[in-house]
């Protein structure tokens, strides 16, 4: 369960959100500049809202009243960046292992097992990129990069997955394929997904809940 009620002042408008979702896919839809990525940043703790509260399952991630702002590294939130942000100096295998070597995830069990797959190699194979483990990101195609980035984000067993424009760098064929895969992935993982898109078709295909952002005003439907 993800509950967010917060406001974030941006330089040309104020963003306001009030929403609660279960283990569903929420699509944030809107023109560029409407503050979609800012919402993801606030959920991940990369930026701080101006006021309000964010709760994930039983944990308060942010609360202006209680002065709580859990740092990103402790939030247990997976993030798929628009440009994937795969570490260029590490192989696919090292990229996927990176999160598992952090203290938070070393003590296995603290996060519990949120998803169906915990083993990094099994994860890569399930995304069809198991044969690429020794490659560097520069040697991968756009679709391959995205699958590796998804595997890297999910292998640490996040309780929430954020996806920033996951289809923007893909051609139409790949996009349709990945859209279906994401839907399947969501059924397997049973955690909330929050996905940013400016494409209406993507939004209506994937979204259990669609939130339209327009200059800070939000409308759920």
């Amino acid at each position: 369960m993800l509950e967010m009620r917060f406001a974030k002042k941006l330089w040309h408008f104020a963003l306001e959100l009030e929403l609660e979702i279960g283990n569903q896919i929420l699509v944030l839809w809107g023109q560029s500049g409407a503050g979609k990525t800012t919402v993801l940043h606030c959920l991940a703790g990369l930026r701080k809202p101006s006021s309000g509260q964010i709760r994930l399952n039983r944990r308060v991630l942010y609360s202006s009243n209680e002065r709580i702002n859990i740092p990103t590294r402790s939030r247990n939130v997976g993030y798929l960046f628009q440009d994937y942000a795969l570490f260029p100096h590490m192989t696919v295998h090292q990229n996927v292992l990176y999160g598992l070597q952090n203290k938070r995830n070393k003590k296995n069990g603290e996060n519990g097992k949120n998803g169906p797959v915990t083993d990094p190699m099994e994860m890569l194979h399930s995304f069809g990129v198991g044969h690429l483990v020794d490659r560097y990101p520069a040697q991968l195609s756009g679709g391959e990069k995205q699958r590796v980035a998804l595997a890297r984000a999910l292998v640490v067993q996040p309780e929430l997955l954020l996806l920033d424009e996951p289809f923007s760098a893909l051609d139409r064929e790949n996009k349709i394929k990945l859209r279906q895969e994401l839907k399947k992935l969501h059924r397997q993982w049973q955690i909330p997904f929050v996905l940013v898109s400016h494409d209406e078709e993507d939004a209506s295909f994937l979204g259990d809940v669609i939130l339209t952002l327009e200059k800070g005003q939000s409308r759920a439907h």
């Binding site: 990103t72 590294r73 993030y79 570490f87 990176y98 938070r104 560097y136 984000a153």
Partner: protein, 223 residues
């Protein structure tokens, strides 16, 4: 004989001074440049101008400034002399002079290198649970490495070649504070061309080899 060197002391001293200076410059320059590369605060431009100043000032000005600092009546010199320490006209003064003039080169190169690292990599590492130290050593530093290497080479070369400020604060005491550049100058002055030629050859070949090797090594990247 064409080449001739009776005293190897300047060569060894120059190496020692340059290595210690680069070590200090790295220890100070890396954290400072990392800090200032991504942070904005009031007066940052003033701090940056001050940190870069030794690069553009004439070495004699640096030397004069250091004399005011560590000289017998200098700010630091007085405190140190009460502790029974005198830096002036010792080879440690040469280290200090080399450090001050080499620092901006390291600082500028490292800052540009840190700035060039895409912030999204650091953000991604944070979402994967990494702490700030781990991010620095596993993401930021390796990705900024080529620029930092450039900074190391430049500051080493500058430290090795330091002449003006060194002469003013460390003097030219053979067997104590005489580095290669000083030895060359005074050998020429004394008409000892064989020694001058030899030292020039040593420093040229050595510098060439270092730059050549470092460039080769920095190119050897897998990604």
């Amino acid at each position: 004989m064409f080449f001739q060197l009776t005293d190897w002391f300047p060569v060894l001293l120059s190496l020692r001074v340059a290595i210690i200076a680069v070590f200090v410059v790295t220890c100070l320059g890396l954290p400072l440049s990392r800090l200032l590369a991504r942070r904005e605060f009031y007066g940052k431009d003033l701090v940056e101008a001050a940190l870069t100043l030794p690069m553009v000032l004439p070495p004699s000005v640096i030397g004069y400034g250091l004399l005011m600092l560590i000289g017998k009546n200098g700010l630091l010199g007085r405190v140190l002399s009460e502790l029974g320490i005198s830096l002036i006209f010792t080879w440690w003064a040469a280290v200090l002079a080399s450090t001050v003039v080499a620092f901006p080169l390291m600082y500028q190169s490292a800052k540009a290198a840190f700035k060039s690292v895409d912030e999204n990599y650091e953000k991604a590492a944070r979402t994967l649970g990494a702490g700030e130290w781990r991010i620095f050593f596993t993401i930021t530093l390796p990705l900024a490495w080529p620029g930092i290497i450039a900074g190391l080479v430049l500051s080493f070369a500058r430290a090795l070649g330091e002449f003006g400020a060194t002469l003013m604060v460390a003097g030219n005491i053979p067997g104590q504070t005489q580095t290669i550049p000083l030895a060359i100058y005074f050998a020429v002055d004394a008409g000892d061309n064989a020694t001058a030629k030899t030292l020039v050859a040593i420093i040229t070949v050595f510098s060439f080899a270092v730059i050549f090797w470092v460039n080769r090594w920095a190119k050897r990247r897998k990604y």
